[in-house]
Symmetry: C2
Subunit: 179 residues, 2 copies
């Protein structure tokens, strides 16, 4: 079932919580996100600011955490240092991620077997499934050619990592959210 502002409100109220313009705006932002995209809290903040939506960082932190707990968002742990969020079940099929530990290049892939295995496991223990994420840590072909593993401070770097580095300097903080 699809989440709408109305259904979100209902779900919130049921728990004694409230719908707010901020929460609606944030929900919309995630729903407008194109397939395979995920945002960090700061990405989301920037994006909202540019759209003229002035929502504080605190509120965004609080909201994404709440929505993740409600199972509306998925909290992804891909690149180092901070979390990314995306709609849960936004894609036609449940998907997972493969990330290169050198350049953080992330590939998304679908795999129903994993979801099935997870449901089996959850049922067995009497738990209730919120989300399951298979994250594959790997080395991308380019990094392999360069002789990875090597520390990031070494004298080589994937093209992606270099692009990232540049972004750091410009924005004074470091991460990637493409792919």
């Amino acid at each position: 079932m699809t989440i709408t502002p109305t259904s979100l409100k209902a779900e919130l109220n049921e728990k004694g919580w409230r719908m707010t313009p901020q929460r609606e705006t944030i929900l919309n932002a995630f729903q407008e996100l194109k397939q395979g995209k995920h945002l960090s809290v700061e990405d989301l903040h920037d994006r909202l600011m540019q759209a003229g939506e002035d929502i504080s960082l605190s509120t965004i932190y609080r909201t994404v955490k709440l929505m993740a707990r409600m199972g509306i968002l998925r909290e992804l742990e891909l690149a180092e240092g901070h979390k990314h969020y995306e709609m849960n079940a936004a894609t036609p099929h449940h998907h997972h991620h493969m990330v290169c530990v050198q350049c953080n290049r992330t590939l998304e892939f679908e795999n129903d077997t994993v979801l099935k295995q997870s449901m089996k496991q959850v049922e067995k223990s009497g738990y209730q499934l919120i989300d399951c994420q298979l994250t594959i840590y790997a080395i991308c072909p380019e990094a392999i050619r360069y002789g990875y593993p090597a520390l990031p401070s070494e004298n080589w770097m994937c093209t992606r990592a270099i692009a990232d580095k540049t972004k750091h300097k410009k924005k004074m903080r470091g991460h990637r959210d493409d792919d």
Copy 2:
């Protein structure tokens, strides 16, 4: 194949890096860890201190990160706030984790299907597998009974979460590493 101080040294030297007493101590600490246990950087630091091994936090951070990149350790993202580490392939079978989003109670389970699926995915893309982790986020039976989802600041809490809270106050920082 099992990692030994000797094989670690060889692997390091091959990349132009060095074996040090600190690295050996840290490797040993992880190998002595009983099945299913994982440590945060701070857990490890405390443990080493108690054993009379005075290794700085910086070095531990640097070492676990290096060893994770080398595929010797697995970096786990279970409880909120900080990472846990464990030997990669320490267990007879590859294992994964199911964690309750309310109380952080973590269950470990084995599943070879997931590993097989991951290997398939990795090969398809020409990547080289370092690790794959299926993390299931779920609600434990106890939390379901209490009517989760609810914010942590609500007026109820799993017994595990309460135990955790107590630990916080005592240690002035918050996490769990049991189960």
